[in-house]
Every structure is written in structure tokens, then in C-alpha cells.
Symmetry: C2
């Protein structure tokens, strides 16, 4: 395996040695002085160069793009993770983002046969199986149903999967970036199933994708009739090709693999199909060789996005902002706690932004950093009362074989220089 800057230093991660070796920082050290320089800056009084000439006009960018100064804010893949980029994943740069909306161009991708190049005028969605009348819809047909708008997170079940066996990737983009959060516009799946007429013996549905992998997953009819959407817009505009253009399934709160992209068919049946992606994959292998199956709901989870290994503290001691994301597949996040000392003391974080069910939530913790090393952690509480566990609590229950559903508390060690690194504490 070749060296990679995103790897944690050292070839063999030792997830239990870190806390012993460092001085734990006290929360709330000496307050720093005023933020900002006092008095007028010559660079301000003399106008900056870009005030001396006319910029581009309103005809220059029919569809806009980010500033060239933001060229580093991109999805990134990790070459050694998979054999091929066509069946692989890349990661949302959550360390560079704020608020709760993920811009469409930065939503992580997970493909099993690459991005299907679907022509929407030729695309069809078929409903078949245990229905009164099999139906085939064009995209124009779908636009005639009542539609709804909801902000939901989509998290890959394998997000943080490398963390089961200890800190292995350096950067929350890589440890927690298989997640995005957008506003979907779509038709409740219930209305489409009702149009076809679901037979009384029906209990499951099987959505199928129009990519070369023909992705399928079994979903209980109860969930299909509850809050699933057949969605064609994200953040206002058409779905992006890599997110299932022109139409995908939205399965709020449940693992991303079930949100079938390029949705071409929904079969209604009376039992689960047990296809490849719900047997050999997307099940959780336990230490005794048995596997948990149907682990669909995403448990409450959180991560500090800044400071983090890709987002060091750029200033010295004084006013410091800690921020991060929290979410739960079961509802909202009324509370997040932040620790500066590896879980010894906890501070209730400040939430800011809309609190929407099965959506990302943004939290902040501001403190006066005294410049001593930190062990940053966050802990989410969801609206059911569930509290995010430590990784060791999860390992006790499930061992270290799985690659799915790791929602354990993440730790970043911050040095006196403000450099953060992925570590484990126990």
C-alpha cells in the first residue's frame, strides 16, 4: 500500500495509546484580546486593485461556478479504497462547508457501475408485481402528481467504516464525508403505488436502478407508504447525473444504498428479495460469524468538522470556534455536547439553523483557547432520547469486522500549533 497524506501517520494505528501521552487541555483558558487589528489599514484606505477596473458582466456565467480561490473545495476519492473508480465512492468536503445545505456539486458519490447517462425523454418508471394495474410513467407523468419538499440527509452505511479498526484516515472528509443534505422535491411513493393499486398480500417493494448495476434493494411496504419520495429535484434544480438524474428514490433516515438512483422500476412483492446488496453487502458481520441484516436506520451521529485534520486552527490562542454536524435517522437533534478533553468534561453546544427531521443539524461551541493541546469530541442526542455511543461501546456489541453503521464518537487531537489529527481515546 502506497503512502498517502490522508493516512494517519504510522503504519499500524494504535487506537488506545493517545490520551496517555498528552497533557489534556483545560476548557476555557485565558481569554485572548480583541479580534481584528485596530485602526485603518493602509490596504483599505488605498483601494484594492479589483476596485480599479470593471469586472465581468451578467452575460458571463449563465450557470455560475465557485471562485478560483476555492478550487481546493472538491469531492475527493481515495484510490486505494477500491479496485476501480467506477464502483467506488468519493467524499463531501464537509470540513470546508458550513450551515446544513450541501451544494449539489459537492454531494458525495457512490456508484456501483458508474454514472448512468439517462435521457429523461426516454426514461420510464414502471410499477409492477402485486398491483391491480401495472403502470409505466414518463417524467411528464410524474410531474402530474402532488409533490412535496423536504430536506433529508443521505448517509452511506459505510460512512466511518474504516474507523471500526481504529483511526485510519486523516480528515473528516474521509472519515465522515459519505453524507450530504439537500432539499428534495418529489412525489410521495405512496401516491404512485396507490395509482397502481397495491394488493392486500403485498408487504415489500423492490426499487431498481437504470444503471449498468441495475441496483436493487428490498424495502418494507410500510416504509414505502410512509415518507419515501420519488424525487426529481435537489436544492431546487434537476437531480445531478451522479445523484440519479432524472429520478431517484428518497428513503428518509435510512442507509444511502436504498435510495436507488436512476429509478426505472418498483416491484411490489410479499417478501424480501435477498439480492446481493442486502446479503453479501450492507449487512453487519458480527464476531461469531453471524450477520445483522435489515439494519436500515442510520443511528444518531455527529462529527466536528472544524477544527479537524484538514482544517487546522489558523490562529493562536484566544477566541476559537468549534463547529460540526449532527444527524439521526429517527428524527431531530435537540442537543449536541462538545468535549475539549477527550470526553472528561462536556459542554452543551449551540445549535444554529432549522431543526428538521432526518436532516443535518449544525452546532457550534465557542471558547477561549489557552493554546494547550485539545482532544475534541462531539456527542449527539436525538429526539428519541438516544445518545451517540463511543466507538468502544459499539465494538463491545459488534466487534470490529463490520464496515457499516459506525456511529461512534470521533476524536481529533489538536496540537499547540493548531494541527489536528485523527486519534482514538478510551
Amino acid at each position: 500500500m502506497r503512502k498517502d497524506p490522508i493516512r494517519v501517520k504510522g503504519t499500524k494505528p494504535n487506537r488506545r495509546s493517545f490520551l496517555k501521552g498528552m497533557a489534556v487541555a483545560a476548557a476555557g483558558g485565558a481569554a485572548a484580546g480583541r479580534v481584528g487589528a485596530t485602526g485603518p489599514d493602509p490596504a483599505i484606505v488605498e483601494k484594492q486593485p479589483w476596485m480599479q477596473y470593471l469586472g465581468e458582466g451578467v452575460d458571463a456565467h449563465p450557470y455560475g461556478t465557485p471562485s478560483p480561490h476555492e478550487a481546493h473545495v472538491v469531492r475527493r476519492n481515495v484510490e486505494w479504497l477500491t479496485a476501480d473508480p467506477v464502483s467506488s465512492v468519493n467524499f463531501t468536503p464537509i470540513h470546508e462547508l458550513d450551515g446544513i445545505i450541501t451544494p449539489n456539486g459537492l454531494c458525495f458519490e457512490r456508484h456501483h457501475a458508474g454514472i448512468a447517462e439517462v435521457d429523461p425523454s426516454q426514461h420510464r418508471l414502471m410499477i409492477n408485481g402485486l398491483v391491480d394495474t401495472p403502470l409505466v410513467f414518463t417524467m411528464e407523468d410524474l410531474a402530474r402528481f402532488p409533490r412535496e419538499n423536504h430536506v433529508y440527509f443521505l448517509e452511506c452505511a459505510a460512512n466511518s467504516g474504516m474507523e471500526w479498526r481504529g483511526a485510519q484516515l486523516n480528515g473528516c472528509q474521509f472519515t465522515h464525508g459519505m453524507i450530504h443534505n439537500v432539499m428534495y422535491t418529489g412525489v410521495p411513493l405512496r401516491l404512485i403505488l396507490e395509482e397502481a393499486g397495491v394488493k392486500s398480500s403485498a408487504a415489500w417493494v423492490l426499487p431498481e436502478g437504470a444503471d449498468a448495476s441495475a441496483m436493487t434493494r428490498s424495502i418494507p411496504l410500510e416504509k414505502a407508504m410512509d415518507d419515501c419520495l420519488v424525487a426529481f429535484k435537489m436544492n431546487g434544480e434537476a437531480l445531478r447525473p451522479e445523484q440519479g438524474y432524472p429520478v431517484r428514490l428518497v428513503v428518509p433516515g435510512w442507509e444511502g444504498n436504498m435510495w436507488v438512483k436512476w429509478l426505472r422500476r418498483i416491484e411490489v412483492g410479499d417478501q424480501p428479495w435477498h439480492h446481493r446488496e442486502e446479503t453479501s453487502k450492507y449487512t453487519d458481520l458480527l464476531p461469531d460469524g453471524r450477520a445483522r441484516r435489515f439494519t436500515w436506520e442510520m443511528d444518531a451521529k455527529s462529527v466536528i468538522t472544524s477544527p479537524s485534520p484538514q482544517a487546522p486552527i489558523p490562529h493562536g490562542p484566544g477566541h476559537t470556534v468549534v463547529t460540526g454536524l449532527a444527524w439521526s435517522g429517527r428524527g431531530t437533534i435537540p442537543r449536541v455536547d462538545v468535549s475539549l478533553d477527550g470526553g472528561v468534561n462536556w459542554h452543551q453546544a449551540r445549535m444554529s439553523g432549522p431543526s428538521l427531521t432526518k436532516s443535518l443539524h449544525r452546532f457550534y461551541h465557542e471558547f477561549d483557547w489557552d493554546g494547550r493541546p485539545l482532544l475534541l469530541q462531539s456527542r449527539a442526542h436525538d429526539s428519541t432520547g438516544y445518545v451517540q455511543p463511543t466507538k468502544d461501546m459499539l465494538r463491545e456489541l459488534r466487534g470490529e469486522n463490520s464496515i457499516y453503521h459506525n456511529n461512534g464518537i470521533q476524536t481529533w487531537a489538536v496540537s499547540e500549533q493548531g494541527i489536528a489529527e485523527n486519534v482514538e481515546v478510551s
Copy 2:
């Protein structure tokens, strides 16, 4: 003036002749049959071509872009509206969007000297005037203040300005597209002013932009200390260059011109400055020659985005979805009414999506179209009890000289063929 497809047909718009000449459609005609074809479609049973090959991998698009099939969904400017594209406007394609979030690449632009090309490492924000300590901030300094996340609409005061003198532009992109709605992340302006210390004689602030127009607007201190943000993110990522990268002022609910982009300086004073953009411009000329000034708040408004002149009904009679946007600078929109017959009968629309203060709201009205002509209108009610007026009510109060603050009810005439046109009824 050259011919333009977005112009309403006929060189001289006659805003009062339309209703007489058409049969008014009855609401809720004969219900159409099932949506979608019955039985499996051969195109579905035989796999589509894009299922036969592997698509692009996760390394193909570090920053994603829309499908080539969506190339028509872009901002558009109207050449004859202004002398030059550098001091001009383009329009959000609201007829193609759904939900309430505007994607960053499609947010309309209004520049007075083109897009400033600011280097964030060289950019500074200065606070001066009636403060205890003048201060200069780098972008890193700003990131040390506590920040908040809010979804707000930004509407140009001139949005729908051409409609004062009758229906002149065909398409809601052009009549109502000087609006966008994103989630901002920023520092409350109050915190930054408090850091400098505001003197007791202070009553106004003057934000200044770092573009070649050095845009300035006077804002009452009360508003500055209430909900204004010094924002550096939109929809999660850095502001786009055309939206003020790296930092802009957010003035929730107030006209867009005050949301100074490329924010370089905020002067604190004891009276308004009466600069160019708040005297010769952004005031409302009344019939008697006097002008309304300080008309900052955007009144409640709505528009049907589909069907509309750029978004005809693509199908015949039967299930039909009417959708649109509503907003108010004073709060939320608890209710929107839709009329199919030019304001004779009103139906309460269905709202869908988060209801956030000073944000766009999405409404829908589903009905069974009988195929007869329609006169579509929408009417917003805001949380203060204010009801969107007709254009004629506005003209009675303010005449037809103004180009600002036209929040009148918009009418689309829909033909039996489903073609929509901008018309006026009275």
C-alpha cells in the same frame, strides 16, 4: 427596439383588454383518467442503452455540474434592458425550479460595475466612524466570531418593475426572477459592531463594497443590530464571486441593493448619507413628482412559476399541478390563494416545505383541468395579516412611474393548448 421572444406579443401592451375576449375556465372540470400507461412498456422490459455500459467513475467530476439535458436551465439577461452587461441584471430561471432553495449557480446577478475579482487573503473589512475603536478584520478574523445559519430571500427592488406599465415581459424568469433564496452562514453584524464599540450618538451604518462602483447604502442602526449578517457562505460553500465573494452583507427582508457585496467597510454615523443609490435610484417616483424614500422592506408577493409563459402545460386535460413561490420581508407566508379564473374564485393552496421567516415559501394547487382557457393568479397572505394587492390597487396609490416595489398579483392566461402568456385583468 428589436424584437425579442420574451416580449409579450404586440408592440403596445394593453393591460385591460384580455378578460373580455376569452371564455373564463371553470375550476375543476371533468376528471381525467389514470396517469401513466398501463402494462409493461417494451422500452422498460428491454433495458435502456445506458444500462449496457459502465458510466463515469467517482474521479470524473470533483465539482459536479448539471446534466447536459438541463442546459436550458440558466440565468438569462435581457440585452435591451440596460446599456451594458457590466451594470445590469440577469434572472433566476424560477420557472424551472421547485422547492425553496435556489442552487448557487442559478442565483440572479445584479452588478453596478461587474463582478469584483477579490483575493480573500488580501481582503479586509474595516469598521470606522462613530465607534470606540476602528477595527480591520481579515477573513480569518471573521471566522473567530460566533456564526448563525438562516435561509433568506434576496429580491431586487426592481423585480417586476416592468409590470407597472402593463404586461411587457413573457415569462416569470423575467417578470419575477430577480430573486433567490439560499442558506447563509455569517456573523451577526451586531457582534462585529459591538467589538468596535458603537458610540451613543450613532444611528446609521453605511456598508461599502469593494467593487469598482464602491456601492454604498445607508441602513438604520436598529436594523444593523437586529438580524443583519456578515455572511461568507451560501448553501454551505463559500459565496460565489457574483454574490460578493468572500463576504457580503445580508439584510433580511429588505431590498437586495442594500445587501452590499464584496463588503470592505462599514461606517457608523448619526444620519443617512443620501448617496446616489438611495436618491436618484431605489426611490419610488409618485405621480405628483415627489418620491417615496427609505422603502426598504419587501412587501408580501407571490407568483405562479408553472404553468407560466416559459413552462406551458405539456399534457392535455386532467390532473394538473399549479405551483409557485410566495414571500414577505416581514415574516412568514401562512397562506396563498390560487385563482383559475382571473380572481373571481380563489382556492387555498397547499404549502409544502419549511416555513421560515423572510424566506421563499413553495405552494401547490392540484386540479383536474377541463381543457378550457385559464387565467391563473396567486395571492400571498403574510404573517402580519397583509394581503398581496392587485396591480391596479398599487397603481391607484403610486401611479405608473416607479420601477421599484411592484408586488401586485400576476396573471398568466393559459390557452386550450396549454400555452401561457403574461396578461393583465381588471
